[in-house]
């Protein structure tokens, strides 16, 4: 089976001139439709890989950190003693590598996207954030840590980011599933189109097929003639779809990247064409050719079963 599928690409198959004419087996319309299918498949592959990669980047960036927030008493800044107490509790906790309180200017920077370049004075009491780095997340008992911090510094809370990452992962998985569904639908549609095209080819060349059949050709010989034609068509359409997708992605890349936030707004990572994505896209034309070949083969063999 695999030998038969690979033969058209290895220059093998039936020796001699193609028994089916190059022209007339399928029209330009089929090439266009298969190109569009390949284009959509490329976009689905790109979306799936990009979303997965981006989510991994997001979650790995925050998976080994937690943030402790100390809310200020009413109209007063957070006293240094409270910060020291919190740091003391944190640094004694197993599984925590380091704990550093953000300075007021750092906290101001975090607020800049929302409040602009205002100079925030002590008259505006801000919560103190402590950036905590973990050696191993599983070693830390967050409930116990929360209780101890609450006891040492009333109003201190631990944000372990799990709510954020869980939601992010859920969204990411949904989007990846949608990409895979789109890919599966495109694949199914492409196969259905190839079945119709092969049947049309069989009808167009019924006379030739009959000659081959009655001359003693096995089904594989006849199928190989159709495979030779459709594998090349699939590969050609796949390459054209890939090129169109690359042009689209370059446009998207420049539109979303080149004009991005001057401060490097990093909540949403840029969707780029990574080597992994590019490799995934390269597989689309190959997959298109294989799908076209297998579908043509099975369709021809099934059709031949109805012949005497």
């Amino acid at each position: 089976m695999w030998r038969a599928i690979l033969m058209p690409f290895l220059g093998g198959g039936n020796p001699g001139a193609p028994v089916l004419p190059r022209r007339g087996t399928t029209g330009t319309a089929l090439v266009i439709v298969m190109t569009i299918m390949s284009y959509l498949a490329c976009l689905a592959v790109w979306a799936g890989i990009s979303i997965t990669t981006a989510t991994q980047a997001w979650t790995s960036g925050i998976s080994n950190t937690v943030t402790v927030q100390i809310k200020p008493p009413e109209d007063e800044p957070v006293p240094q003693s409270a910060i020291d107490s919190a740091l003391s509790v944190l640094r004694k906790t197993p599984g925590i590598a380091s704990a550093n309180a953000l300075q007021a200017k750092d906290t101001s920077k975090l607020l800049q996207p929302w409040l602009g370049n205002l100079v925030l004075g002590p008259e505006l009491p801000l919560p103190v954030l402590i950036d905590v780095k973990l050696t191993e997340r599983s070693q830390v008992d967050f409930d116990k840590l929360q209780r101890e911090l609450e006891k040492a510094v009333p109003g201190a809370t631990v944000d372990d980011h799990t709510r954020w990452t869980a939601r992010l992962i859920a969204v990411s998985r949904s989007l990846t599933a949608i990409s895979l569904t789109v890919l599966a639908l495109v694949l199914t549609a492409a196969m259905a189109i190839m079945v119709f095209a092969t049947r049309a080819g069989l009808m167009t060349h019924a006379g030739i097929v009959e000659i081959l059949h009655f001359s003693g050709a096995q089904g594989e010989f006849i199928a190989a003639e159709f495979e030779r034609h459709f594998s090349r068509l699939g590969l050609r359409a796949g390459i054209m779809g890939l090129l169109l997708a690359l042009v689209t992605l370059l446009i998207v890349h420049f539109m979303t990247g080149a004009g991005g936030d001057a401060q490097g707004f990093s909540l949403v990572p840029r969707l780029s064409l990574s080597p992994v994505t590019f490799f995934g896209l390269l597989l689309v034309p190959i997959a298109a050719a294989i799908v076209a070949t297998i579908t043509a083969r099975l369709t021809v063999l099934r059709a031949l079963e109805t012949m005497p």
Binding site: P15, V19, G207, H213, F214, S215, G216
Partner: protein, 239 residues
């Protein structure tokens, strides 16, 4: 070689077009299949080359009951049969040479092994200078000869020809008939379907005559005169 036993044929739910056909073709035999236009000659030939399945009865080909054979085992049997179709059935975009080589390619031969023989055969049928011509540039007679060359190139055990001389002049028709006789002399069984009585008279061979869907075996003229012996085969008139 080939035997029919009480074979009947109907198309879909229509009336039976062939009734209780029974005959046996021995290896090396030569028969004409005759009958008026519409008598069922083409249907009978299609049954012989496994182009149709009988509605009833038994067909044995090369010792096999074809109704018992799985589809996968039929192609090797078909390769032992050469067919000349009434409408030639040449492949339009292939050259005369490529059309003739088709049965050899199907049988798995490589071009270096057969190129010389095929060119010689094309020369023999008078198409040596037309090997690169495609069917649309060939005359009816030339197409006929390409079709015949294709049917005989793989040296089949059984040659079936449907009105093989219908599109050629009398002289070419005679030459083609003698080609069939020569093949027969080399061991190929030959069945020629024709309604042309002048052709039948050229060779002293038995006749399978179809009338109203029934088959009648007529002895060759010489036997009818008392000199024919069935074991002698055929093609005496050609030699």
């Amino acid at each position: 070689m080939l035997s029919f036993e009480n074979v009947g044929l109907r198309y879909d739910v229509g009336p039976e077009v062939l009734h209780d056909i029974s005959f046996t073709l021995d290896p090396g035999s030569f028969h004409f299949l005759t009958g008026r236009s519409g008598a069922g000659k083409t249907s009978a030939l299609r049954l012989m080359f496994l182009g149709l399945r009988p509605t009833r009865g038994t067909i044995r080909l090369f010792g096999y009951d074809i109704s018992q054979l799985p589809a996968r085992e039929l192609p090797p049997l078909r390769r032992r049969i050469g067919i000349v179709f009434q409408d030639f059935r040449l492949i339009d975009h292939l050259t005369a040479y490529e059309n003739v080589t088709l049965p050899l390619r199907i049988a798995g031969f490589r071009e270096p092994d057969y190129a010389g023989d095929v060119k010689e055969l094309l020369n023999w049928v008078g198409l040596g200078n037309r090997i690169d011509a495609t069917p649309d540039s060939l005359s009816g007679g030339e197409k006929q000869r390409v079709a015949i060359a294709r049917a005989v190139v793989a040296k089949p055990d059984l040659l079936l020809a449907d009105e093989p001389t219908g599109n050629v002049d009398a002289e070419i028709g005679r030459r083609l008939l003698y080609l069939f006789a020569e093949l027969n002399r080399l061991g190929t069984s030959v069945v020629i379907a024709t309604h042309d009585r002048s052709l039948v008279e050229l060779i002293d061979a038995p006749e399978l005559r179809l009338e109203n869907g029934r088959l009648q075996l007529l002895e060759p003229p010489s036997a009818r005169l008392g000199s024919w012996t069935a074991s002698a085969g055929a093609a005496k008139g050609a030699s």
